[in-house]
Amino acid sequence: MLSLSTTQRDAIVATCIRALPNEGCGLLLGASDVVAEVVESTNVADSAKVYEVDPGVLLRATRRADEGGIDVLGVFHSHTHSEAYPSPTDVAQAPDPAWHYLIVSLRNSRATVRSFRVADGAVSEESLIVAD
């Protein structure tokens, strides 16, 4: 289960829309499966088909989380023309079973947001609670 606010969900979708035609991405900071902060990143892969979070953003977010007593809970990214489900690339490069992998599909006019866990190559969707 992953919990975030409507404002945070909207910020994630907005980041992904701004990144078009490329995939958008960023990090989720928080604790106990509750998102406290959404951190936007540039997609340093500069691609519509793959993403990579700016390592400098990752470094600063990791330090900020450590100092604040919270964690990097996971990552979000968009699929511009496919469903919000982990691709083989996502699965191959999702090494942390403790992380939440949130995917935004911009395939349709209304964005779809879903959250997953990836452990030992196995994908499992988790409930995503969006509340004010």
Partner: protein, 93 residues
């Protein structure tokens, strides 16, 4: 040189569980090579077979990405802080 190494959560289970450890080495490469000897399970995540830095591992010395400091040849000073950060990547392809 004695430096401090910050270990990401994903590597901690294979490295004894600690988040921060003390390490020794004159260069980043020396430190990483010693880590692969101590913790063989992580070898493939740190270095390529030719000894260069793995494509999906970011290494920072203090605030600097070592790719801009000479990669594994980046030199270390006493009390430097090394941070390992596996790349966060993926995509629809």
């Amino acid at each position: 040189m004695a430096a401090v190494l910050r270990i990401p959560t994903v590597l901690r289970p294979a490295m004894g569980g600690a988040s921060v450890i003390a390490v020794e080495g004159a260069t980043v490469g020396e430190v990483l090579l010693r880590l692969t000897t101590t913790y063989p399970a992580i070898k493939g995540q740190l270095l390529n077979p030719d000894g260069t830095l793995h494509r999906f591992l970011n290494v920072y010395v203090n605030d600097d990405d070592v790719r801009y400091l000479g990669g594994v040849n980046a030199s270390l000073a006493n009390d430097d802080e090394i941070t390992l950060l596996p790349a966060v990547a993926g995509g629809a392809r």
